[in-house]
Amino acid sequence: MKYLLNVKNLNSEFVREIQAESKTRILHCYQCGKCSAGCPIANEMEYKPNQIIRMIQLGMEESVLKANTMWLCASCITCTVRCPREIDIAEIMDVLRRYAFKRGIFPAAVADIPVFNRIFLRNIKLFGRLYELGLIGFFNLLTGNPFKDVLLGPKMFFKGKINLIPERIKNASEIKDIFKRSAEIEHSD
């Protein structure tokens, strides 16, 4: 008989790592489910937020990182402010995303979200500010939906809402340096 939860597959260090990085007491969770009850996106999630917390407690690293839950988190922080045990669930989701990002683990179903994040950040790295047209264009190209939201484009353009040329800040090279040093610091941690 195959047990889904087998101590051999569990990473008992996982909870400690996530706990240390998020500075929140994951082992303190008593599974009341209030986070999942109030989550605006829980419906779309493979595992509900409370289940993710439970899985971290158990050390189910692989299942947690492969789930779409953290990528669907909208960072609305409702879970954190209502948690009776003062666990910062939103921060845990952030930590998990960074943890997965470092290791390059992205579940296929939500692969477009990290892609979006990457393009967004590259945008800022280049110009110091966001260039929406470039962002949306690149994103659609990379996710294979070149015509998504294409109907909204002209509407917004005629209302003077889209810049055709990106805004640049004067010292864009400074921003590149910040990106570089941040990456170094993250890496050394």
């Binding site: 009341c32 489910g33 999942s36 009850a37 829980a42 419906n43 509900k48 289940q51 209502r82 009776p84």
Partner: protein
């Protein structure tokens, strides 16, 4: 000074590791010391040996080098008494638990035994005879709080023949239990089992009840407490009033009734509920037209006065004043109960803005056939019958973020009961219960929950509710989760009942500081020992029972009330009390009046005394002192000392290790 050292072999428990003979020899070399050994010092022949040596050698103090003082200190103190010595001339050197049992090296263990015995000798040299103090006992008990716990304690003490006084701040005794509809798990009607007790207490010659009263001050010590009680002006003469009820029928002022949890009206002159004891109304000065007009224009005759006009007994007395009563008591029982958690801090549940989100206590009143809706489940906003009701557990319990980390213990059970009663009132009603864990640890409790789920079909959903809000059609939308199925749950309800937790009474801190009962971080009173002394407190002669110690259901409160009463009776069965003589004392010649000692004393046992030269110095109230020695360490001029553990004794002990 002649000191006898008696070294015990304890069979081989000690002698197997320690060279007893060497200990005896080493000690006997000390000046003024006589030493000997014996197989079992605690046995009768052993004790008799000590007695005969005391008499023969004219010993002034005795050292027993044997097992821990925790075991046989009392035994050997009695031996000393039998030998004609003051029992406090005894010292024990613990050479078994802290020597022979924990070491293996014979030389080192023996050496340590010698050190321990010599240290005891050093202390004993400075020992003084101590005498327990004797105090009388005033055989009357003050019970603060007239809920079920207070009433039960008063009945128990009075039926043993002792005087009891109940002080209750509300106009009637009965407490929270009087508000309940039925009680779990037997579904007895709460009033049916409480009212007879209230009547029994009020009719007993040995019980005096002060309602609408508060304890303002308590001083003194075990056996001899002095209490000052303020009996607030009722504006109604208790002797003249017959409780006929004409005044409150005629009174034109309607306000929300506290007893009905603001769901129903009461008049400005009122009894909180029909079976109130005493059945005498009070006038609520804040809302009464007469008092309001008098406040605006003190010169006028005052408006309204309808109650006065109609009272057939002439019992209305507008000019009544508060009365102060001073009485002496030998013991105090604190039974001040709990408050219901105020859910205003739950913004996500509407913070009290939605009328149809009610508390459990409000729902009790709605269920009650003598309540504001005569037992119909009508929702407060539009008085329509509520057919879908959601119960939300743990509101103000197990919630650190709201400052209430503990479990309130009774909510699981009362919620199940309320859901059951709802189903009995409206069989086709929908009842949903959101819970985290069901805690039903009590006789027949688990079976009760089972019945509610199986027979009555109440649907239990495992998860905390995240948000409650009102939708356009006036219904309440409850957003929760069921973690067992891993789904979000949304229920459109007519009414939501919050299972509000039990929190400490707001007066706890003030009262605790006044009487000297410590309270925990949740402001519940702390018992003297969590297992072995659950009704006692740190202050001798003061006892606690009921929910002022921690949330409790009725059977537990009643049981603890009985326990507190039996402790009081034990106290009252003594003519005199003997108090332990290990107490602090002040050398008033040295004391500089800085009162650092008073600042650290946990028992308020330090008082001021003015000497003939007008200087203010400290004095120890011996009956309050517990002998911890905190004041001694705090004294900058070494004016305070602890009998039995004086600075001199301890320094001598340290010196002996040289």
């Amino acid at each position: 000074m002649k000191i006898g050292v008696f070294v015990c072999h304890c069979g081989t428990n000690i002698s197997a590791v320690i060279d007893v003979q060497k200990v005896v020899n080493d000690l006997a070399k000390m000046p003024g010391v006589f030493a000997m050994d014996y197989k079992f010092m605690c046995s009768d022949p052993g004790q008799n040996m000590i007695i005969s040596e005391i008499k023969q050698k004219k010993l002034d103090a005795v050292i027993v080098a044997a097992c821990s003082p925790c075991l046989h200190e009392l035994t050997f103190r009695n031996t000393l008494i039998r030998g004609g010595l003051n029992p406090y001339m005894l010292e024990i050197a613990n050479i078994r638990e802290q020597d022979s049992w924990v070491h293996t090296d014979r030389d080192k263990a023996t050496e340590k035994a010698v050190r321990l015995a010599k240290m005891a000798v050093a202390k004993a040299k400075r020992n003084q005879p101590l005498f327990p103090q004797e105090v009388s006992v005033e055989k009357s008990c003050l019970v603060i709080g007239g809920g079920i716990a207070g009433i039960q304690a008063a009945i128990d003490i009075s039926s043993a023949g002792y005087q009891t006084v109940i002080v209750e701040k509300e106009p009637s005794i009965g407490g929270k239990m009087a508000m309940f509809d039925k009680t779990f798990p037997t579904l007895d009607c709460s009033a049916c089992i409480l009212t007879p007790k209230m009547v029994q207490a009020s009719q007993s010659k040995k019980v005096k009840i002060y309602t609408y009263s508060e304890v303002e001050e308590i001083g003194g010590y075990v056996g001899n407490f002095n209490a000052r009680i303020r009996v607030k002006a009722r504006s109604v003469n208790m002797e003249k009033c017959t409780g006929c009820g004409i005044c409150w029928q005629k009174c034109p002022v309607k306000v929300n009734s506290e007893f009905e949890q603001n769901l129903g009206p009461r008049k400005a002159v009122y009894v909180p509920f029909a079976q109130a004891v005493p059945n005498v109304p009070v006038i609520d000065c804040v809302n009464c037209t007469y008092y309001r007009s008098k406040r605006q224009n003190p010169e006028s005759k005052g408006l309204c006065r309808i109650c006065e006009k109609f009272c057939p007994a002439g019992a209305i007395e507008f000019d009544q004043k508060d009365k102060i009563i001073e009485e002496k008591f030998g013991a105090v029982i604190v039974a001040t109960g709990f408050s219901a958690f105020d859910h205003k801090v739950y913004g996500e549940y509407g913070a009290g803005r939605y009328k149809d989100v009610v508390t459990a206590l409000q729902f009790e009143r709605l269920l009650n056939s003598s309540g504001p809706t005569q037992g119909k489940i009508l929702r407060p906003s539009d008085s329509k019958e509520a057919r879908t009701i959601v119960f939300v557990q743990c509101v103000g319990s197990r919630d650190e973020s709201k400052g209430v980390p503990y479990c309130s213990r009774v909510c699981c059970m009362y919620t199940a009961k309320q859901a059951l009663l709802l189903k009995e009132h409206i069989p086709d009603a929908n009842a949903y219960v959101f819970y985290i864990d069901i805690r039903a640890a009590g006789k027949n409790y688990e079976e009760f929950i089972e019945r509610v789920q199986d027979e009555y079909g109440v649907l239990y959903l495992r998860g905390r509710v995240s948000k409650i809000y009102r939708t356009g059609d006036g219904a309440l939308l409850v957003r929760g989760a069921d973690t067992l199925s891993g789904t979000q749950v949304e229920i459109s309800a007519d009414m939501v009942v919050l299972a509000t937790g039990l929190v400490s009474n707001p007066e706890t801190v003030k009262l605790g500081q006044m009487i000297g009962i410590p309270y925990d971080k949740n402001r519940f009173f702390t018992e003297s020992h969590p297992k072995l002394a659950p009704a006692e407190t740190q202050t001798a002669g003061v006892f606690i029972c009921g929910a002022c110690q921690f949330p409790k259901d009725i059977p537990d409160s009643v049981a603890q009330a009985g326990a507190a009463a039996s402790k009081v009776l034990g106290l009252f069965s003594q003519e005199h009390l003997m108090l332990e003589p290990v107490l602090a004392c002040v050398n008033q010649k040295i004391c500089n009046g800085c009162f650092h000692c008073r600042a650290v004393c946990p028992y308020n046992a330090i008082d001021e005394e003015i000497l003939k030269d007008k200087s203010v110095v400290a004095r120890v109230i011996e009956s309050k002192c517990h002998g911890c020695g905190n004041c001694i360490s705090a004294c900058p001029v070494s004016a305070v000392d602890l009998k039995g553990y004086t600075n001199e004794q301890i320094l001598e002990q340290l010196q002996s290790l040289r």
